[in-house]
Symmetry: C2
Subunit: 146 residues, 2 copies
DNA sequence: TTACGTGCAAAGTCTTTGCAACCAT
DNA sequence: ATGGTTGCAAAGACTTTGCACGTAA
């Protein structure tokens, strides 16, 4: 509760200070993103339906785009289709997606750090770790298939 | 010429040996993928239009899916929208996409190797390097923006 | 000859946009 | 009051699918 209020207050001000308004829809979307980890716009919409009368899907899209641009949430592409959103504060890890079974694992920032450093030094490139999704095959599928 | 024929012969047999037919459309699509690097289905369709009367867009999709499943081509997601295809033989590098200006750079397999090894040892995960796309900011945008 | 493959058109999925009504400030 | 926001519906981008005709083997 205490934590929740503290969090609310901070993104409230983040919005207001940039001239955006704080609306119930935006609050609900942010709460859904926090509750569901790696949620698609559809899943976020479904989650929000349960609490309130519902937030229109186009508002979900517009809100996610806004929160993403403000750096409050981040998204990555885990599968072929829809992107998944998560809180920016719980970012910092990359995703490992198995192309055989679809299982999703996480790799810590520390695991990625050497690569990020190499790309910085070799290409001057600043890696967005929380957006990073790595495709391949998981341990189980490697053992099974061949 | 010699090389072209050699390449043709090999994928011809790859198709036939698995019970698929060799058609002019499949040949054109594969040639387009070879000629255009990182091409979307639309771009491949456009390229094919110039040579022949045209290959229907749905055939492009079906052919790319087939060639991908056979391991003759590979695809990655460079931007928000359509995937891009390239020859499997010219794979082995990852892509660095600047989220500010959209510029695409390439990172060699050697640059990625330490990460791939770390993921193998730590997670038992086999990285698909040619599918790997890393988002972030390029040198120029980092210098300009801040 | 005979399945497999193609073209065409329609439908499907995911996302964006125009606009009038609404509400946070 | 007043300009950012929302809901709704229509449009848009990208991809898939059903079916009859065409063609590689």
């Amino acid at each position: 509760m205490e934590q929740g209020q503290t969090r609310n207050r901070s993104w409230d001000q983040e919005l207001r200070s940039r001239g955006y308004r704080v609306t119930p829809q935006r609050q609900l979307v942010l709460e859904a993103v926090a509750a569901l980890h790696h949620a698609t716009p559809e899943e976020i919409a479904a989650n929000v339906q349960r609490t309130a009368k519902g937030v229109n899907i186009s508002t979900i899209y517009r809100t996610l785009e806004l929160l993403d641009s403000l750096g409050l949430v981040a998204h990555t592409h885990l599968n072929h289709g829809a992107p998944t959103y998560h809180l920016a504060t719980e970012a910092g890890h990359a995703h490992l997606v198995c192309q055989d079974c679809g299982k999703i694992d996480e790799a810590s920032r520390e695991t990625i750090a050497p690569l990020a450093q190499a790309l910085d030094e070799g290409h001057g490139f600043e890696t967005n770790v929380s957006h990073l999704t790595i495709f391949g095959r998981c341990r189980e599928c490697r053992a099974t298939d061949a």
